[in-house]
Amino acid sequence: MILVQVIVGGLLLGAIYALFSSGLTLIWGMMNFINFAHGEFVMLGMYAAFVMVLWFHAGPLAFIPFAAFALVLVGLLVYFGMIRSVMRGPMLAQILSTFGLALLLRYLAFWIFSANFVSLPPTALRGTIRISGILIDVPQLVGGVTAAALTIAMHLFLTRTRAGSQLLAVAEDRAAAMLMGIRPDRMQALAWAVAAGSAGIAGALIAITYPFSPSIGEVFGLTAFVVVTFGGFGSVPGALIAGLLIGLIQALSAFYLGPVYKDIAVYALFVAVLWVRPQGLMGKA
């Protein structure tokens, strides 16, 4: 029984990992652009939700869309204000620009919201469901289901819609895409909007369960990189599977080996997987 509980907890945690990683895989995998500020996007999503609750006593049905909307704006702002020009520069400038952006966002948040941990007040999403002795945290369950839905939606968007195909075309060969009449600028702005928006949703959902402070982005940012690398660059379903797998391994190793060993277990497997499959679980070689 306790094994089932550990597995359920691990999978729910893994779904949360997958949730905040899906946006990163879009930017990283589809645009070959590493966004170090992704964890900070998630953090901003948390604070967007927090501000909505604080000012308007909004419920989850209001603050989750608001966080998504706010982060879409942030994503567009970042793209047009910074990324567009940085992409013309050398590779190193691209990498360091988002690193700087991450620090800027983190310390702005420190300044505006102070360093204290905050958490959202009890909402309709609090509580625990008991299914034949197994306890499931409602916010985690909602987060997990949303993660899966979001991931599938993103996958369908990329593979089944015109805009998705155009996005992939730009990633593959910018010049050829332009010859086909696709405007790369618009497509990339769209990618940033979608990625940031999903980070916003992720942040709002995670904020329901976890206490957070402006430095929370570090924790989630790093995990997101691991999930995306593990799952395979550019593979949205890969991010979901990798997230679930990492959550599961962490839970099992923390319970059976002890919490201090859980990261060792995860990263040992991580290195092993990359050794055998450098492109990640579901990435293309």
């Binding site: 505006i112 102070s114 941990f117 905050v118 009890p122 625990t128 319970f255 990261d263």
Partner: protein, 450 residues
């Protein structure tokens, strides 16, 4: 660099309101107006892109270099401690005749040094021991501070005190509790706070008292974060338990930056200890309370070892589900009109909330240091060291529940001690030892939920 990256204002805007009503109610909405106004004000300020000018330097000040985690996981505690240090600075630098008994309160500045003021130089080690080491070096060699003070996390105190020892600069530890800090033969280290073994002994005496009252304590569990602080307090408790024939059902070390603690809670639920002692920092302490609730686990007693449980974010975040949780504290606000109450008011005016134990121990540390600086009458390191060694503050001269301040050969304050407190409503109340209790102990912590 790091000093420039720290927030420009002390924390405290998002803290709990300090309404003295002790009805439980929803803890959260009380944060309301103050915070809203603050966030709005900051957003407006930001829009105006105002840059605050750095503070002007005083002429003949005594420079104290202070190392704290002003960002990172323990930032809230670091920011609260920073505000406390600034209150201590205010008490020493300005005349406060209303604070009876506190040395240097009624005069402005340090009288033996011609009214010299204290100047505080804050740096942010982010809870990173190697950064703390580098910053200590920078404070000594570049900022030319006269004394060092810090450093919250024991691991950071461990590395930074070694630098001070090498350069022969006095280092006063306000709140780091790991036993191994003293006992390294250091000559320049002075620690005002009680330490891990003091706490472990207090816990065992408390368990004995409870057993005498007929409470069942068949075994305890120790859950500790795995850096110097958690490990040394955990070790001290395990050793004291062994000496007192108290079985330790399970010992769980973990990393404080975990984003999930359910495995630990399931392990605890499996072992069924009667008391669970958490030695945790802030976010992990909050997560434990939430996870225990969601996994429907409630041991008869939960005892938090200060730190995370005293963090200003703890009660607003989980006060409703952590009712009856015990904690340790050497700090008690006291009755209106008392000196402690007035000091608390000064802190409250600055931050909007009450002093917590950690910040109060730092405030006391600063005051004890200022007393020594004044007696030294000079900024020469040797004279400060000698004055620190000769420190002998009486209970009526201090603000904490210590029996005084007096250092032994290793630099440890041998008169330090602690109360135990219990979360009732929206604040902790002293419940042990019985003579300092304001309210009876509630045991078990919550009625079983099954």
């Amino acid at each position: 660099m790091c000093a420039f990256l720290t927030p420009l204002r002390p924390a405290g805007m998002l803290g709990p309101s300090n309404k003295s009503d002790d009805t439980l109610g929803p803890v959260w909405p009380h944060w309301g107006m103050r915070m809203r106004g603050n966030i709005l004000a900051r957003l407006l300020l930001l829009a105006g892109a105002l840059i605050t000018a750095p503070l002007a330097h005083a002429a003949d000040a005594v420079k104290i270099g202070i190392l704290w985690p002003l960002t990172g996981n323990a930032a809230a505690a670091g920011q609260a401690a920073k505000a406390a240090a600034e209150v201590a600075q205010d008490i020493v630098n300005n005349a406060h005749p209303e604070l009876k008994g506190i040395p240097l309160a009624d005069t402005a500045g340090l009288p033996n040094m011609g009214g010299a003021k204290l100047e505080l130089v804050f740096v942010d080690h982010q809870g990173n021991p190697s950064l703390a080491q580098q910053l200590a070096l920078r404070l000594i060699t570049q900022d030319k501070v006269n004394v060092l003070f810090g450093a919250y996390q024991s691991s950071c105190s461990f590395t930074s005190t070694a630098v001070a020892e090498r350069y022969g600069i006095p280092f006063v530890i306000g709140d780091s509790a790991a036993s191994n800090l003293t006992g390294r033969g250091f000559k320049w280290l002075f620690r005002v706070t009680p330490i891990a073994t003091d706490f472990a002994d207090a816990y065992m005496r408390f368990f004995d008292d409870m057993k005498k009252q007929g409470k069942a304590i068949r075994s305890i569990a120790v859950v500790n974060e795995n850096t110097d602080y958690g490990t040394s307090v955990g070790d001290a408790i395990e050793a004291a338990a062994k000496k007192n024939n108290m079985p330790v059902a399970i010992r769980i070390p973990y990393s404080a930056s975990s984003s999930d603690v359910s495995a630990q809670v399931l392990q605890l639920r499996d072992k069924q200890p009667d008391v669970v002692i958490f030695i945790s920092y802030t976010s992990d302490a909050i997560l434990y309370m939430r996870t225990m609730r969601s996994l429907d686990y409630a041991p008869p007693m939960v005892l938090g070892d200060d730190s995370g449980f005293s963090d200003p974010s703890f009660i607003p975040a989980v006060g409703d589900i952590a009712q009856g949780v015990m904690n340790r504290s050497s700090w008690d606000v006291g009755k209106p009109d008392s000196t402690t109450y007035k000091i608390n008011q000064m802190y409250k005016a600055k931050t909007g909330r009450d002093l917590d134990d950690t910040s109060a121990r730092n405030l006391q540390g600063m005051l004890a240091l200022a007393d020594a600086l004044n007696r030294a009458g000079s900024t020469e390191p040797e004279k400060i060291q000698k004055a620190l060694r000769e420190t002998d503050l009486k209970p009526e001269q201090i603000m904490m529940g210590y029996r005084g301040v007096k250092y032994d050969q290793t630099g440890q304050n041998v008169l330090a001690s602690t109360y135990l407190i219990q979360l009732k409503g929206k604040q902790y109340e002293p419940v042990w030892p019985e003579k300092s209790a304001t309210t009876p102990i509630q045991w078990p912590v919550q009625s079983a939920q099954h």
